[in-house]
Symmetry: C2
Subunit: 383 residues, 2 copies
């Protein structure tokens, strides 16, 4: 599938939180996309092959929930270890003693009437991490009749034909981490699985992306190389495709089209491989989170910084807020849901942010170097 | 006209800046609204009366531009006087000497090809004002064919029938002021005029609203009383109608429907009176800006405050950002325009803002009192 199509039809689920997964318009689009892809319109694709390829795994919900809970636990542990190490530079900057490491606050939650559950892990005002969250959510729901009617236009050859209602399940992990130190980058990822009780609909989605305030090329190379390695086992073109999707999606179109950061990978409504292999691919990327990000925080968290560098970080945080609130489809539609868990969705926002009228870095500065990187996608792994 | 209709059809222009005025969907809606209102569907309204009542004043653009430029100049002067007085409490809080007053930065701008001009006045990091802008914009454009086609469905009895293209002009003043001191409220207003070269379309819109971090009831009473007095000369029910429109519009629907602040007045596609009287009404409200707001800043700007109070202000600024970026139709559609002047639109954002996971004020505190005021609209003038 062409990355551009993925971009247009499927990337609405990039936000943190449950509600994103329940965005109906987005689900309509995805279903049409998946069904259109599967329909043997030319007769060249054999019916049997199709069925075999796309049948969902009845155990996948259990497997995915167990996986993201385990991943969440591993990530939280890894971050708490870094948190315990402290950030000498930030303590010095704030004129305080070395701050003790904080633990993530674990906030389990349930939706009424068995409609789902989750575990939100949040850290705030820590020694290394100014704000961050790692959220797991498991949501059960019913696809509304309108979706089924739209589906029937595509599904005439498939067993969906006579289905009158369709229950679905959406399971995902979302994470955003904003470190204190302006030299340490912000990180976001989201890995999720969607399927229906009948009709054979299922897909995986997700991605990881990095948002530094200061560009360290070796960090960008490390980050993208880890992601590429995680993709390469499943197809040599996947990384390039997912990177392009990511670069196109995370853009502040109202800010001269600048990207939120230096990108990463992004994919959605992914069922190109059979279920078990698609799951392995999602896991490969999920498992790369710690390796892709933690060494970068460790490497930068004690770097001394100036008042101006802190201010620049805060201005970049402002852009992060702009993207998440103005453009991120998951956030926008998520908060429009009747029983949205706003606090889980907006835990992606930094602790603090800043806006100055017409701020623009001077030519030749480190700030200008970052701007160049976010205005022009780069092929980091080839550097 | 029922306030609810005004809300649904016309309030998209509440944001700061030019681009808001150019939101096509919004202009479609307004035009349909205005035309529907004018059409003598029952035959009871005489053609002559209609024409007389709604004919636009060919001098109104000049009058409105002169008016908003003069108003801008008066407002900037009034704010600079306050700025010169300084904010002792903020200086003490920051452990600095009394800051000298800053001047507004005057930033005139032009759109290419005679499509308009404006003057953006901005203050940042001042002694009293942390961030603020007073923006005048004059925009010329062409209504696209789609709008004219939609109009023709309504306009069969009017001289618009054979119009093939329609040039318009939109003139407005927008303003947002965020003081440093958490006891001094944030203020927003917007007053604007729209008309077309032919076809007799014109309307006024605008409003003022107040966003305190701490509620001083006497301030709310003062603010609303000044606005009510400005409205009352033109109809005894106007204030109540405009207040309701304002209360309904400035809501963070994703935050338990809390209002951005304690409201004010808001009206749009207003042509209920003949042009000169509608202009007088808009001017009456525009002229009330200084009286409604400046005494409140003077009264609160030197009030000592604590670290916690500053933090609370920052959290409320976060909600201000959420409203402007997630909900304000003017901002959202404005930034989607091809040649949007993003810096003028987003000058409404505070210098700094803050987000904490699940922050909630304790019962009985001053912070809880503010929350009560933003969760339940109050009839301030009757207190």
């Amino acid at each position: 599938m062409h990355p551009r199509n993925e971009l247009l039809t499927g990337i609405a689920l990039g936000a943190v939180g449950v509600a994103a997964i329940l965005n109906w318009q987005c689900i309509y689009d995805k279903i049409e996309n998946v069904v259109r892809r599967r329909k043997p319109s030319s007769g060249r694709v054999k019916r049997a092959a199709l069925k075999n390829e796309y049948d969902r795994d009845p155990e996948m919900r259990k497997k995915m929930e167990a996986y993201v809970l385990d991943l969440q636990s591993r990530i939280v542990t890894a971050l708490e270890e870094i948190e315990d190490e402290g950030d000498e530079a930030s303590a010095a900057f704030d004129g305080v003693e070395r701050r003790p490491g904080k633990k993530f606050r674990r906030d389990p939650w349930e939706r009424p009437n068995g409609r789902g559950h989750g575990l939100t892990c949040v850290i705030q005002d820590g020694s290394v991490f100014e704000k961050g969250g790692v959220n797991v959510s498991v949501i059960y729901g019913d696809l509304p009749k309108a979706v089924l009617e739209r589906m029937s236009a595509y599904q005439t050859n498939m067993e969906l034909e006579k289905v009158k209602s369709m229950k679905f399940c959406a399971i995902g992990l979302s994470m955003v981490i904003h470190p204190r130190n302006p030299h340490a980058p912000t990180f976001h990822c989201n890995y999720r699985y969607f399927d229906t009780d009948n009709g054979g609909m299922w897909w995986f989605g997700g991605g990881s992306d990095l948002t530094p305030s200061y560009l360290y090329e070796e960090d960008a190379v490390h980050f993208h190389t880890v992601l590429k390695n995680a993709c390469d086992k499943f197809g040599e073109d996947l990384y390039a495709e997912f990177k392009t999707t990511c670069d196109l999606y995370f853009r502040n179109t109202h800010r001269n089209n600048e990207m939120r950061g230096i990108g990463g990978v992004f994919f959605d409504d992914f069922d190109r491989f059979e279920a078990s292999k698609s799951f392995e691919m999602a896991k490969s990327l999920g498992n790369s989170v710690i390796e892709s990000y933690c060494p970068l925080v460790r490497r930068r968290k004690d770097t001394p910084f100036t008042e101006n560098q802190k201010r620049w970080q805060q201005l970049r945080r402002g852009r992060y807020v702009e993207f998440n609130l103005l453009h991120d489809r998951g956030t926008k539609f998520g908060i429009a849901m009747p029983d949205a868990r706003t606090e889980s969705i907006l835990m992606s926002l930094p602790l603090t942010a800043r806006w100055e009228y017409k701020h623009s870095p001077e030519v030749g500065t480190e700030e200008a170097k970052l701007m160049d990187a976010v205005l022009t996608p780069k092929d980091w792994v080839s550097l």
